[in-house]
Symmetry: C3
Subunit: 212 residues, 3 copies
């Protein structure tokens, strides 16, 4: 680098990505773009709640605390504490996208190790499922297809980790489920700060023609 | 650059500006410093609202959505969705400054293209007006002076764009109006994330003497 | 620097620290990790309030403004205006930590000079006290030990300034008090944006054994 101008432009290029939601990739899961959490058995479930019978004080503390709803995982604010606490081996969250998409990648956010009180509650292993709503959809039953199995790594020093899906879809999906099956050692709960869904918008050839 | 120390200092210098509200320039328009939106015909007007008669569903959706008031444009939070939606060719927002100022520049913020769902709703052409409140001020009538005509460019990759005013004022102003007359192609609305007003504080020689 | 890869890694290393709460050091004072402000005479006191008798308009303005409670100082949001306003020479804030700690450093945040309307209300001289709650604790009385006397410097260009405590504790503390005794010239109030407490978690050898 012979001159400072080049240097400054490299810094600014990095800052540009950083200021674009840290990783510079569009996130379609955000509640603020119109997506939402779908509640229901097998869809979004496993919210942590201490057992009233075995630990009354922990339960009371939990009931009085500003515990976040599952919607926290599609809120871009990841300051400390802004996570959804769920059961370590049984933590499911399903997102209905603001519009059908061809998903290509997902991301998981946790707070940086440098400032976390502990990293044991960070998510570790998880599956991503594509859900299909049948015309005969009744209650919580729907087909699900495994799009990939991944691991969030707390030792690589990147708070936001992006994973390309193993299955390349050709038709769009409306619902994706994240199923977290383990954490990094915390006995009581996993704290999910944020999940992101990246992909391509899908133009329905028939609908496009009608609208034009 | 012979050593890493120089390199780190250049990075830190850039970060210092970035962490100072992205551009490192004082913004006097912020509601949090005491400025406010002035409502009224010709002042702040053109809020987007789908037509109930032609599109009942869009209208219903709009009424139920967390639509932002015009005050969003003087709130520093520019995460996605935190904008004021107004009519593409008729979008006016007037700010009463926390104290009279000699304005020198204005800025317009939009979200980075990398993360936006689309850029068509970004503002394009706009005028900035200085308003003068007459002693005989009645209702919405007041003198206005054109301070500059500008274009927000979505292709230059800078989410915050700063424009020096064409008219250099010698006496202070209390109210500035932004009039957005076009966007980048969206048929229904323009989304204004943030406007900023930069300038010099003006010391009234008479008042200063009294206070000293 | 023979190659751009090294350059980018240096930038990213700086960004990693920056994105970890600006300084990359764990803060135990945050309300979001479970710490809280302890109110009471000699603990948290000195909130600014204009005198109703001498300045009715200032008082009215104050009552109508979104004045922040003392809890603002343990909230990580330091956008402009998000501070606690207190009396210049009598500004005390006491934090009860989420768990007892061996404190090693404290930090004080203010907004960057580049964007502040003025820097005169920034805190200047302050003491940090460790408080001890006696079993015979009654009302507001408790022992306090001076852990250090520091000065926040508005001319060094660093909004977040970290100070190593002068006294190295060997046993943990639950409460720390910040006592601000001067500011940078503002006649009416000091604005405290944020205080941080850094330290080591303390493992009680007896309790640890029981839990294992
Ligand atoms: K979150
Ligand atoms: K905004
Ligand atoms: K604060």
């Amino acid at each position: 680098c012979r001159n400072l101008t080049l240097l400054r432009s490299i810094v600014d290029e990095r800052l540009e990505v950083f200021s674009a939601d840290t990783i510079g990739i569009r996130d379609h899961a955000l509640e603020s773009v119109g997506s939402r959490i779908v509640h229901g058995k097998g869809l979004t479930a496993g919210e942590y709640s201490p057992d009233l019978r075995t630990n009354f004080l922990a339960w009371l503390d939990w009931k009085l605390s500003p515990a976040r709803p599952a919607e926290a995982v599609i809120d871009s604010d990841t300051t400390i504490g802004n996570c959804w606490a769920c059961e370590p081996s049984n933590c499911n969250v399903t997102i209905e996208l603001h519009r059908p998409l061809i998903p290509t990648d997902v991301s998981v956010d946790h707070i940086p190790e440098k400032i976390a009180l502990h990293m044991s509650s960070a998510p570790r292993d998880f599956h991503v499922w594509g859900l299909r709503r049948h015309p005969s959809f009744a209650g919580d039953e729907q087909d699900q297809e495994l799009l990939g199995t991944f691991r969030y790594d707390i030792h690589q020093g990147k708070p936001v980790q992006t994973f390309p899906l193993h299955v390349k879809k050709e038709s769009p999906l409306s619902r994706l489920k994240f199923q977290f099956t383990s954490n990094h050692g915390h006995a009581n709960y996993t704290c999910v700060y944020r999940v992101r869904i990246h992909g391509k918008e899908w133009e329905d050839p028939i609908r496009s023609e009608i609208q034009d």
